[in-house]
Subunit: 247 residues, 2 copies
Amino acid sequence: MELKIGENILITGTNRGIGLGFVEQLVDVPGVKRIFATCRNPTQAYKLLELQKNYPSLHLIKLDVQNDASIDNAFSEIEKLLEGDALNVLINNAGIGEMEGTTIDHPNRESFASHFDVNTTAAVLIGAKFMPLFPKPANKAQPALLINISSLVASLTYCPFIPTKQIAYSLSKAALNHYTRLTSKYLANQGVIVISIHPGRVKTDLSGHYGEITVEESVISMLKIIKDLSQEDSGRFIDLHGKDIPF
Amino acid sequence: MELKIGENILITGTNRGIGLGFVEQLVDVPGVKRIFATCRNPTQAYKLLELQKNYPSLHLIKLDVQNDASIDNAFSEIEKLLEGDALNVLINNAGIGEMEGTTIDHPNRESFASHFDVNTTAAVLIGAKFMPLFPKPANKAQPALLINISSLVASLTYCPFIPTKQIAYSLSKAALNHYTRLTSKYLANQGVIVISIHPGRVKTDLSGHYGEITVEESVISMLKIIKDLSQEDSGRFIDLHGKDIPF
C-alpha cells in the first residue's frame, strides 16, 4: 500500500473486524517499522498469529482495555520494543456494541457502564498512558496521530436518522467525540493531531454483518484520510470521504 | 412565583444546590399540586424537612440514582402518591463533578465510571422508569417535560473555552445531551418535550462556589424558560437566555 504514515503504530482491538483490517493493510505499508497490535487474548488471535509469521514488524501485545494493570503491562512491553523511538500513531479502535439493555425504554445500568468503560473511558486512559511516547518536540514530517474510531450514530445533528435502539453505544461514542475535541485543544501546541473518524457502516461482527462496505474498503479509505491529516484537521469528526460530520 | 408549569413535578438531587433551589421556587408556584423532591438521605435533608412543614405539596422521597432498587422503590411511592394523576415534569438534576482523576493526563477509571453512572446513565434509567407516568395522550395545555440539567462544558462547539480539567464531567454531560436529542426524537409523537439546559455558572458546592449567579437566579431563569417550552423546542440544548448552545 502506497502511503506515508508514522513508523510506529499502536492499534487496540485487533483480533477481528476493523482492528484486524488495519493490521492487514499496515503490514504492507512501506516505512512502517513496528505495528503494535493489541487484543485481550493474543494466543487465540489466529489470524494475527498467522500474519506475524511473514511480517516481523508485527508485534502482538496483550491488552485488555478494561483492565488498568493490563494497560500498564502493555505499555512497558511496547516502550521496550520501541528502543527509544517515538510512537507515531495510536488508533483507539477497541469497542463494543451490545444489543441488550440499551434502548430508551429498557436501559440496563451494567450495559451502559460497559459501553462507557470500553468505548470512552478506555480510550481516555490509553490516550493518557501512551501520549508520553509521542515524538517531542513534534516531528513535522511525521506528526503524531491520535485516532478515535467513532460512529455516525454519535452525531447529534444527524440523529433524526438514528435508531433509538443501542443508545448506550451512541452515547458512549458521543462522549468519545467530546474527548477528541477537548484533547485536540489540549495537545494543539504539541503537534499531535486528534480526530474521530466514522468507519462507515462496515460488515463486522459488531454490526451483525449488516453494512454497506467491507472491512478492507473501510480501512483503506480511513488510511488514505489519516495519511493526509494536518494540524488544522485536529479536533474534527470525519467520514470516509474526509468530510466533516456535524457533532 | 407567577408561572404555569405542570401539576406534578419530580426532581432528583434536591438536598442542596440547584435541586434544592428548584424545590424552594416551586413550592410557591400556584397550580403545582405535588413536588416529589428526591435525594439519597431525606432524613438528613434538613432544609427540605423544614420546608415540608409549611408546604403539604412537598413530598420527600428517598432515591439514590446509582441504585436500581432505590429507583424502583421511589417509583412505587410516587405512583401511589399520584393517585392516578399523571407526572408532568421530570427534572434530571442529580449530578456529580469530582476534581480527582478526571484530567486528560491523569484519568482514573473509577472516577469516569461514577461520572457516567450518575450524570448520564442514571438520567437514562430514571427517564425510562418514569416516562410511563407522563400524560397519555399528551395534554396539550400541560405537555410533559423531561428536563436534563446539563452544562456548557458539554458543548463541543464551545470547547475552545473549556478547561481540560474535569473532563469526565464534560464527557458525561455531552453524552447526556445526546440522550436528550435521541429521546426528543423518540418521544416526539407522544407530546413529551425533552431538553438539556445549562444552569449558568452557579455558586454551588459542586462548583466549589465559583460562579457568576446564585442558585435562586439560575432556577428562576430556568423555570421561566421551562414554562414556555413548546414541542418545537424538544431536543434543544438551551442556555439561561433561552438561546441554543451549539452541541
